[in-house]
């Protein structure tokens, strides 16, 4: 996802007079499902008594793990697909929701900060509500900043 795209979409939303709303996904990286075997040493002070020599097998990604970013992205991709979004070919961070008989919704996603926008507030909010049922999010409402910009 490039900054340029964010600005492009914001300018477009201004021209088209679209409604925009933002979310922040809580501890997003922890949801990333791993597709390989990764082990870690037991954290100091939290080792299971009597089994200190053992290591832990990770099911999900952790912050700081090299694979975390990609794992999260794959997981997020899947969930947006289930909601009916299609990812653009020319920009991996833009998701397009286009169904017959309803207004479009565009998802602009920077790692764990999604923005949803579209011409119809009710449709956008409905999609957002569906998304929020899948992930624990903080609702940022109509954003006045994005990535500290």
């Amino acid at each position: 996802m490039r900054f340029e795209t964010v600005r492009l979409m914001l300018a477009l939303a201004a021209l088209e007079n679209w409604y925009i709303t933002g979310l922040d996904i809580r501890s997003a990286y922890l949801y990333g499902k791993l597709d390989e075997e990764i082990y870690m040493e037991q954290p100091e002070g939290f080792a299971i008594p009597g089994q200190e020599h053992k290591v832990l097998h990770l099911w999900c990604a952790l912050y700081g793990l090299k694979q975390a970013g990609l794992a999260w992205w794959h997981t997020l991709n899947e969930s947006l697909k289930e909601l009916g979004f299609e990812r653009l070919e020319s920009e991996a961070g833009i998701f397009f929701y286009k169904k017959k008989g309803t207004n479009i919704v565009i998802g602009i996603i920077y790692v764990d900060n999604p923005l949803f926008c579209g011409p119809n507030k009710a449709v956008v909010d409905a999609i957002k509500a569906q998304f929020m049922r899948k992930w624990e999010c903080r609702d940022l409402g109509e954003p006045n900043e994005f990535l500290r910009m």
């Binding site: 340029e4 300018a11 201004a14 021209l15």
Partner: protein, 254 residues
């Protein structure tokens, strides 16, 4: 630093950062990289007016001198004085996509490379900007301009396809430049003695023009805001061009 007197441009007009010939000073090195890193983030985010200044200095991140660090702090002081400026997209303007480009031929006296600068505007505000040194030496200003034009067209093509995927059908996107020679070369498949050596990859612009993806327009060099992305301009010119980027005060006044 917050109380520092703020200059009216990011760097003094015509300033050129010369290469540091002294051995690397570790403290200076890490301090400089920290400052430049922060400046780069701001520049990439919402401050196209500092694009040339920041990229110009960042070339010296490997071995900065005390002068480079001082100039980086100069940019910081400029930003403090203009921290209330932000990019405004005016939905009411109805303004479509438009690109503007410029190049500064052989602007780097050490490497003899030229500087490319271009931007894209939508809804009367900048959405994309680039200021960078060209990778190959240009034998003429026309050639430098031609290469910059080609880079600019690449960006336009990408934005076009992105909007295309969102079901927008766009007409040819205007690109404004101030060099007649390069516009002629891009619009006509001619091979002249003075341009026959130009690398094939830069001829992509011809395809874009022929396909009707872009349309080239000539504008007066003194009125080309993209000039701001290729050199350190004097105060007056800088302020004039900055106002055309969509960078505004909150009140809407410039």
């Amino acid at each position: 630093m917050l109380n520092a007197k703020s200059p009216s441009t990011p760097l003094p007009a015509g300033y050129y950062a010369a290469k540091n010939t002294e051995p690397v000073d570790a403290d200076l090195h890490s301090h400089f990289q920290m400052v430049i890193g922060s400046l780069l983030y701001l520049m990439l985010g919402t401050r196209p007016d500092t694009a040339f200044a920041v990229t110009h200095l960042s070339h010296h991140a490997v071995n900065p001198s005390q002068d480079h660090l001082n100039k980086a702090l100069y940019i910081c002081r400029y930003l403090i004085g203009t921290s209330m400026y932000f990019l405004v997209y005016n939905g009411g303007s109805g303004a479509g996509l438009i690109a503007c480009m410029h190049s500064d031929w052989g602007s780097d006296p050490t490497s003899c490379l030229s500087q490319t600068g271009f931007y894209l505007k939508l809804a009367d505000g900048l959405i994309s900007w680039t200021s960078r040194a060209q990778k190959t030496i240009a034998y003429s200003s026309t050639e430098a301009e031609y290469m910059a034009l080609s880079n600019c067209a690449c960006q336009v093509t990408w934005i076009r396809s992105l909007l295309g995927e969102l079901s927008y059908k766009l007409k040819a996107i205007p690109i404004c430049g101030d060099n007649q020679g390069s516009i002629f070369m891009a619009s006509n498949p001619v091979t002249e003695p003075r341009s026959k050596h130009i690398d094939i990859r830069y001829h992509g612009i011809r395809k874009s023009v022929a396909k009707g993806n872009v349309e080239l327009f000539f504008i007066d060099g003194a009125e080309n805001p993209a000039d701001l992305l290729t050199k350190n301009l004097p105060r007056k010119q800088f302020a004039k061009f900055r106002a055309q980027l969509g960078l505004q005060f909150p009140s809407g006044s410039i």
